[in-house]
Structure formats: C-alpha cells, structure tokens
Symmetry: C2
C-alpha cells in the first residue's frame, strides 16, 4: 500500500534477494522459457550451481520473434520459411506488456531492454461485423460514442421521467442526469442526435478546417440496432480489461529482446536440444533423464533440486516422480489453441490512407482482429501487421489448414476491412499454437473447477521438485505469470534448501 492507501498493482514489489546458497548446491532447471530463465538467473546469483535443459535449439520459449530467414516447422510437418524485408519481424507469442507487469518491467530495466509504447487503444481503428452496418467497417470512435450516447439518452430520460425514483436518491438523480448529459453528449432535451457537438466526439462528415470553407459538417449517427451489435460492446469491454488497458509496451525490435537479455546472463548454463524423458527423485536429490535430439544420446543429470518449467502438455507426457495429486493436476489443465498470422505489406496503407497508427481493428470473422505495427510508424516501405489472432473453435479450424490456406483466409477476411489488402500483400507466416511441437498449445485454460481441485497441488513443492511457469499462476498466457510463478517457486525452494 502506498502512502495514499492505494490498492497494490502487482505482486512484484521489489527485486528478489535470496540469501547465499549452500556450497555446491545444484539445481537443474527444465525449460528455457522465461520461467526457467529467471530461475536460472536468480538462483545463479544466490550461488547455486544451475544447469538448464532446453528442448529447442533456441532459448526463450514463447518469448519468440520470427524474422527474415527463420524457418519454422509445425507438428504435421508443414514448414514455413519467413521472408520479410528490412527489420520487419513478427511476435507469434506475447507481443505486449501491461504497465502493471512490474516483474517483467523490472528485468527489462535491469537488463537495459529498450521498450517503446505499444499503442493498444486507438479509436481510429475499425469495428467490422457481418451482422451490422451493412457489413461496412465503422471507426471505433463513432460506434463507441453512439453506444455511450444512446445509453446515456435512455437512462437520462428514464431518470427524468421518474422511472429510477425507487433506486436513486433525489440528489443523485440530478447528478446522474448531469453526468449522462456530459459523458453522452446529450442536448438540452437529453437527446443524442446528429450535431456538430456529437460529431466533435464521434467524428465529422467533414472535420473542421481553415480559411473560407473551414466549417465542419456533422456526421450521421449509426442505427441504434446496429450499435447494439456485440462487436461494438465487446470491443469497448476489451479495452477496459485490467490486462488490456494502456499504457502498454513492447521491446524495440521484437519480444525476444527479453529472452536474449536473459541469455546474456545465463546462456552459458543452458544446454539446448535436450528432450526430457524422465524426472525422478529421492531424499538425496533429483535425476533428470534426457535425450540429445541431435545425437539421440541419453544423459542423466543429477542435482539437489529441480525447477520444472515445462508446459503442461509436454510435462503430462513425461514420467515424473511426484505425488498422485500433482500428477493429476498436471493432467487436468487443457491448453488454448490460439492462432496468429503475421502479414507483410508493401507499404503502411493503414497509416497513409486511413490515419491508423497502431491499435486494433475487431471483426466477427475468424481472424478476430487486425493489430497494426507500433514500431517505425511513418516509415516508407514494407511493414508487418498481425492479420489474425484466432481463438476458440476458429483457432482449431485454422490449425487444420495449410499455411497457404491460412494466409488466404487472412486475406479474404481482412480485405473486408482494408480493400488494399490484395494489392499490397507481400507474404506472411502463421503459428497455430496447437501445432507448435515444443508446447502443443498456447496457454493453460484454467476453469474455476480445475483451479479449485488442482491449483494448490500443482504449485506445491514435492520433495526436491517444484513447478514453475505461467500455468502455475493466475496470469496464464502472460510473461508476468511465468516470472511471478518462478520467483515464488524458487523462493520456496531456497527456503527449503536452507532448512536442510
């Protein structure tokens, strides 16, 4: 709590400082995603002898950026070679950082990872619904103000007519009407109607200019029925989510700047290309059996402790010696199947033609959204946008397509919002997370029932083994969840190690 008594904003209050570890205390960390990397970093600083085993031939896990020349092969064998111009890139995993993710921001500060604003909320983006506005995309600012205006008019008039008398005190009634009149841009009759006043919020037909013909021309309101379309209120509600509110950030040049920064400090501890096949333990320590995916050679790694930061779809296939309740927990949590598609275009037509700089356009089609690049705005030449972020059934459907079919889907749905799409298209890359070999899913989907039955068992320390990762947090799918989970896990591990 601050001096003013504000609620806290993050579980991360100050950097972790572990007391010095016992001499020659060894820890094996499984998985070099952010949870594993931060464990290796902090335990290493405390004096532990740390080894990290990683399945991939790269460090970072979902902290991942694809660039020109990269090749990605998914489950099923389809392979994509990325062909992007200039310094363009695509983050298939996390691509934005909320202002309150203090643990992640702490490590960015500590490692000097340059961050730039991620323009999450831009009111000049489009809302598109197949069921509203005759299928024509509308500016977020116009549709959202029309919903606010209509709601304000209905409630102000109902209040004025006495319909709220049993619910709202006389004094509050006047304040409520005043608030609705201001917020909803209502006129003297408490009506929300076409005027230069409403246009000064929702946008004009002709905006104010200079000189002889500078007078603005007001815009028509959208039909009330269409303004109630779920695309409108879902988008508005999206931007009031705790994790989705500005200010947000992105690392300059790609999200993997963070894992590369960790790698500069703990890269020497990481052994790549190791597939874990068995994790066993007894009173004296842990034995991790792994296969070198290049040589097929089997190795046994012994340690005093194990931080297991493998994702659950992988861990659930590994022979791990823990209590039945923890085994049940590992099996209990399904993973989401999001799919992201990056598209490169010849020029930033969204900026040049449509005055859209960053932000997100939403649609009720399978692509779900288009998110515009936040780096190097105003620059000429090719740029990469996020052309689809498909969840739920759409995510599975798209995972079932070939990479080429996915690009065609992104183009055919995206061109309903941007007619320039086909003409300006250069190429793209898709990552369907249910087909990513090293995780087989995007993030844990905890139901309330699963949380009640299994969460405590999942995160509890079992002998020499503790689990870490965003799945072992209440922030699944967020890098902050991976860090907070891992910091909590190693603090408990360290405490137990010191007690022995």
């Amino acid at each position: 709590m601050t001096a003013l008594g504000h609620a806290e904003e993050s579980r991360f209050e100050k950097p972790l400082t572990l007391s010095p570890a016992k001499e020659r205390s060894r820890v094996v960390v499984l998985g070099a995603g952010l949870a594993g990397l931060v464990a290796a970093y902090e335990l290493g600083k405390a004096g532990y002898d740390v080894t990290v085993l990683e399945y991939q031939n790269r460090i970072g896990g979902r902290n991942w950026t694809l660039r020109n020349g990269d090749t990605y092969t998914e489950l099923g064998g389809a392979s994509q070679k990325v062909s992007f111009s200039n310094n363009n890139y695509f983050n298939p995993g996390p691509w934005r950082i909320p202002h309150h993710h203090r643990a992640l921001l702490h490590y960015c500060r500590e490692f000097g990872v340059p961050l730039e604003p991620f323009v999450q909320f831009n009111t000049n983006t489009w809302l598109h619904s197949s069921d509203a506005f005759d299928g024509k995309p509308q500016r977020f600012k116009a549709a959202s103000l029309d919903l606010i205006g209509n709601v304000s008019e209905l409630l102000a008039k109902a209040t004025n007519e006495g319909a709220l008398d049993h619910k709202v005190s006389h004094e509050d009634r006047e304040r409520l009407i005043e608030a609705l009149r201001g917020w909803g841009v209502l006129d003297e009759t408490l009506s929300y109607r076409k005027s230069v006043h409403t246009s000064a919020h929702r946008g004009y037909d002709r905006p104010p200019g200079g000189g002889v013909s500078g007078a603005p021309v007001p815009s028509d309101l959208l039909p009330f029925k269409d303004v109630l379309d779920p695309t409108v209120w879902r988008s508005m509600s999206f931007f009031t989510q705790y994790e989705m509110q500005p200010t947000m950030f992105q690392p300059v040049g790609g999200m993997d700047a963070i894992s590369r920064a960790f790698a500069r400090h703990v890269g020497g501890k990481v052994i790549l290309n190791r597939k874990i096949t068995r994790i066993s333990q007894d009173d004296t320590g842990v034995v991790v059996t792994s296969v070198n995916t290049t040589t097929r050679e089997t190795t046994k790694t012994t340690a005093d402790w194990c931080v297991c930061a493998l994702p659950l779809p992988v861990l659930s296939q590994i022979d791990i010696q823990v209590a039945p309740a923890k085994k049940a927990a590992i099996q209990a949590v399904p993973y989401a199947s999001h799919c992201k598609i990056g598209l490169e275009f010849k020029r930033r037509f969204w900026e040049e033609d449509e005055n859209i700089y960053g932000g997100i356009s939403f649609t009720d089609q399978e692509i779900s959204l288009i998110s515009y690049p936040n780096d190097r705005m105003f620059s000429p030449g090719p740029a990469v946008l996020l052309g689809a972020f498909s969840m739920g059934m759409a995510g599975y459907d798209i995972a079932g397509m070939t990479p080429d079919q996915r690009l065609e889907l992104a183009l055919s749905q995206g061109e309903k919002i941007h007619p320039q799409y086909r003409k300006e298209f250069l190429g793209g890359v898709s990552v369907a997370w249910s087909r990513v070999p090293w995780i087989i899913g995007c993030r844990a989907r905890w139901s309330e029932a699963a949380r009640a039955a299994h969460y405590a068992n999942l995160v509890s320390m079992d002998g020499k083994i503790v689990l870490a990762g965003d799945h072992a947090s209440y922030l699944a799918g967020w890098q902050e969840g991976a860090l907070l989970s891992s910091l909590d896990a190693i603090e408990r591990l360290h405490k137990r190690a010191q007690e022995i």
Copy 2:
C-alpha cells in the same frame, strides 16, 4: 471518400502544388509561426520572392520548446531562466498531435521530423476531486468502470422491468441488456458488484499472481454518489473528444523540431526582431512598416502581396489598411488565457512508484491536470512533467502570480495527488499566455455569435492582403488550424495573382 465510403478525416487530402508564380512576384509574410512558415515554404516553392518579418528573435511562434539555459521574460517584466538537466524540455504551447492532423503530419514526413507516440490515454492515472472519495485520488480505470457499471446496471434493470418498453423495441431490448451486461460487467442478476469479474476491469485489491498465493483479491467499489462527481465523467468525456483521442504523437526532443525543420527550408527568408507598425496597400501592392527592435530603425518593406499571420491580439493594435468589416473581425475575437507550468523532478516517481507511464491525471483544483512525460520512459534521473494546464478564471488568476508563486501553487495542489512532490522537486517554469509579449493570449475563443458575424470577413482576401493563422480556422489552438488556414489563404492569393 475512400473506397469504403468513409467520411473524410481531414481537410488535407494531398500536398499543395501551386502552378509557377509570375516572375518577380513578391510576397511579404508577417509572423514566422507555423502559418507564416508554411506560406513562405509553399509560396517559395512556387517561385514567389518571399520575405518573412518576425517580431521575436526566434522562429516558430507558439511552436516553442524551453530547454536548459533559455530565458523567458513575460509582460510585466518577470524573467525566468530555465534550469533543466540532461535533455529535458518543456513545450509551453502545443505538445501533442492528433492522428488525423494530416497537414501537420505531412510536413513532419516531408521534413523527416521524427515523431513518437504521445500517450494521451492511460487508465492508470489519477482522478482527484476535492468533493469526492474523501479527497483521495482514484485510478481512472476504477472510477470510469464504476460509472459504466452503475449506469449499465440502472439501465439494464429499468429495461428488464419494462420502463423502456415505449422507447425500445422488444428485440432491441434483449440486445441492449446483453450489451449492458457485457460492457458494464454485470452479474447474472444484472448487478454491478464487488467480484473478481469487476476487479478484472477496474483493478484488484491484490492482482493475480503466481505460485502458492497467486489468487487475486477483489477490490471494493467506489460509492455511487462519488462516482457521479463531475471529475469522473468530464475526464471520460475528455478522452472521447475528436481532437483528444489516441493515437497522438509528439516530435522527439521537443515540439520546436517542427519549426526548426521549416527553418531549414525557409529560414533564410526570415528577418527577426521586426515589430510591425503599419500595413498599407493600394492597387500596385503592399507596404509594411516595421521597426527593428534592436536598432529602433524603421523599414518599409514593399511587396505585391501580403500574408498576415499575426495573432489577433497583436494585429488588432496595428494600423492595417483593410475594409471596416475585416477590421471589426480582427477586434471581435477574444483570446484564451491558458497557463502551463513545467516541473522537473529528481526521478520519475510516477513511473517507479505508481506505474504511470504517460497520460493525464485530472483534478478539480486550479492546476486542472498533471501530464506525464512520454519520452525516455524508464530512464533514471530527472524528468519534466506538465504540472498545470490552467484555463478560464484559473488561467487568469495564475497569470497574476509571480513565477515563484505559480510553482508553489503547482506543488501544493500536485502533492495532493503525488505525495512525493516536495521531496523530489528540482525546479520549474511557467508560461501564462496572457503575459506572453508576442501574442498576449493563448488562442482565439470564437463564440458562435462571433463566428456568424465575423469569420467570413476575417478570412476573405482584401485587395493584396490575406490573413492566416489558427484564428482563421475552425481549429483554434491547434497547429493543424494554422496550416490549413494558411494553405487555404495562399491558394486564394495564388489564384488571384495568376488572374491579374
């Protein structure tokens, strides 16, 4: 109109291309603010022989940035020497650029002025009202969601109880309730209440974390009466204003990067330190009488045409030979008296302690707002924020104070929002626009009546003279207004020049 039939967003559709001017056609431009600079630039490109007369010893007008070592002396004689660290700066005039100000963005692109996002909308800033929340600042996200939630609950329940039956069709009623339930985060009984669901929008008492104690703790709602405080809805409404919606930009390093870019192209045409005393004309051309403010020498500048881009409080004191209706127009428009105060602090405590990165905190005190710096976030060391942007009566009151009294006011009111203020304060600078010698006001305040009576007369061409500036636009106080006004003025001037 685009291919999709969208309303236009700016009067600026494409760069101005004037046909070649007649040989030896001379134009005198009065004032080297943005309106004068763009006139000099475009007329010069067309082949006119352009001279710009400027009162100050610098180019740019209100496009102005104060840095370490700068001295500013206001009307009344009070002088302030700016003492800022590092690369800190303060923009006393315009400090943000809307995404739809296409003319300004066009020249930034053309001149290669680097722009960065101006984080206008940040939901983690504070709302402070002396009359609500016991005077304790509240996060924008919490207060705004509570207003949305309460309004949604009231209207959803009224609709459900039939109070809206005469206004909303049966089908729309269900859609309306669904929208309110989603947008307002209502529960199954259509109530907005304390829960992890509402906290997942308004913020938690303890946010979700990782590991053993990762479960979030929901936050208390604010009292309904306080949520109706004008500070809340006025702030929400502020961010739906057409000119105030993200995405917005700022030039890297200070707003004067724009006038310096113009100066690189037309600086050689500008004569500084010239006070205009008389503007006369006949059928053959214009004579501008000016006094060199350094040598007191009087000069007569002759030209075929004159673009007069002087602000009205100055122009109204000059003997100008135009029709009585234009003279009346020049006298008719009062100017606002905004006051801005820049404060430098030892460190970015708003970022480090409070997770506030850019954006605006609002208060009902005279300082009106605190706007946090958008450059070099996360950097250590001193930083400058906008500690007051006072308008109306508050602007006049503060203009009546000494610079030291203004800083004390900013500190005493600001510390109610940030208790760190006194401890971290280094110094500051204030600009009360009614005391700025070269404009005596901030921007034109057009009433509807004045607009109807005088606007056409103000902007019309009078013989060889045309007026330009944001006051001759519907975008008073915006750089875009200055540019659009000037582009319109010189297009008309050029047309008439070609006709002769």
